[in-house]
Symmetry: C2
Subunit: 299 residues, 2 copies
């Protein structure tokens, strides 16, 4: 990948949690807890409020300018906090400028297409922030852990599994390059929760009646595949963190800290764009005086 | 339409601005200004904040319960304040539970379908609040004012115009009855701005550089058809305000008042639903103890 063809819309936002672009990411070394000098919960919440206001203002210009789309992808183990983070970071943004899709089990119509089809239909238009709660990455995560799922995908001339994952990584990289080349800012967040923290959150879902509906026995079954999932995440992040579509592995054991990190990165990425209120077309502008005269003449 | 077959999901929310269901709406009598005893701007803003928080809480239950969808339709003359109202009322709602679509000029693909097709694809799923910024009502509004548009729609055996509008009203009524019968709460808002107030807002768009991009010379041209539009709105509201899909003609000359009215009606409609956190399926619940034992046994 030569620097010349690097299609990054904006410089990738630096962060201690950015996954390196050279394939050296080691998930066992990636923290799930905030650093010691992290802001306290109260400070984190206050700073998050400021950032969501800033994000709301930036999105208004993004919308008026209509040059870029923003795509935020969230992946994580169950109970890491995807839903809550999406809510906390984006609730202040004008809903007309924001769209969130949660991808669950694919329908049979979706299975009759290639694995990038169903998410492609939901990509954000220019001016909008699109959020994928899960995404095509499931195709190299849950499917990698449970390769039996591939049988429902009717792949012609299916190669051996290792080749298949490499091919999928290539498809994903090229797909994201294409989107970036055409003006989409892509930011990917892996909310990295520890196994112990997930255990405690599952227990809370069992114990607190108003969290009960979020619990499913299947979640505990999936937990049995913890190491296989961690390996799948590591491989996926290594293969697909690139300057035009960086991954951030955000410590997820502390929710206010996690939400703040995500908000900081999203706001910084938008600041990296050359956002400005659009200039009116000179020809149109020339007619403004005429229009003003008509309107003023009415009274 | 007998009372037995009335599919209203919830009792239509009363309001002084609700358009009667008997076809007696007179647009010339409908106020564009708040009543004298309306709350001041500051009080209106404070009350709106409370309502948006309430709406956010109600939507969370709507989502968890997954029984109903909510569809809000906004129609208005230019500069009446659709965008700002949608933003003000819905910004506090979790964007994962809310989707806003703005319908502009139809594409040629959309024109190759019946006039309800393109909006149908964007209907909100259960658990979500969907917002249409403009809608299929344009088919009896702008198209009624400019019937030349019909030529692009290739209607077989096109009847005379008066019959055509009546047929469209019938299609719309039946479409909305069908949606209501299947669990969608429909609320329709006509933001009713005066001709003088529109004039002042257009002049502001011409005079304030950061509003310039919102202005188009075509808007002043459309203003020339004011009376024809008012007539078209009156006819559409008369023909399609029904208990399962009521119209509200909201005075739009005062923005905080307008936004507050819309929020009050939306929140009241959600209160009219039997919203509650879902109970977990007893069979699933029986397995909770087993799951708890597994998780507790880990430590």
């Amino acid at each position: 990948m030569s620097r010349e063809s690097d299609p990054a819309v904006t410089e990738p936002v630096p962060s201690p949690y950015r996954v390196p672009f050279d394939g050296s990411f080691d998930i066992a070394d990636a923290p799930t807890e905030p650093p010691r000098d992290a802001p306290g919960k109260k400070d984190a919440k206050r700073r998050l409020e400021d950032l969501t206001e800033e994000l709301s203002d930036l999105q208004r210009i993004l919308w008026a300018q209509d040059d870029h789309a923003v795509l935020l992808i969230f992946q994580a183990m169950d109970a890491a906090g995807k839903d809550g983070t999406i809510r906390a970071v984006l609730t202040g943004v004008n809903p007309a400028g924001c769209e969130v899709y949660s991808f669950k089990q694919p329908s049979s119509l979706e299975l009759d297409h290639d694995f990038l089809w169903r998410t492609s239909r939901r990509l954000p238009e220019r001016g909008r922030i699109g959020v994928f709660n899960r995404s095509y990455y499931e195709e190299v995560l849950i499917v990698r852990v449970h390769p039996g799922i591939l049988d429902s995908q009717k792949l012609p001339g299916r190669p051996d599994l290792e080749t298949l994952w490499q091919q999928r990584f290539e498809s994903i990289r090229e797909h994201e390059r294409h989107l970036a080349r055409n003006g989409t800012v892509i930011l990917k967040f892996f909310l990295h929760v520890s196994k112990e923290e997930q255990r405690e959150r599952f227990l809370a879902r069992l114990d607190e009646p108003e969290k009960n509906w979020k619990f499913s026995a299947g979640d505990v079954r999936e937990r049995g595949h913890w190491d296989a999932y961690q390996h799948a995440y590591q491989e996926a992040l290594r293969a697909t963190s690139r300057p035009w579509a960086p991954w951030y592995a955000i410590p997820a054991d502390d929710k206010p800290f996690m939400r703040l990190q995500v908000a900081e990165i999203v706001v910084a990425a938008l600041h990296g764009l050359d956002l400005r209120w659009p200039e009116v077309d000179p020809e149109e502008k020339a007619r403004f005086d005429e229009m003003r005269a008509i309107l003023e003449g009415e009274s």
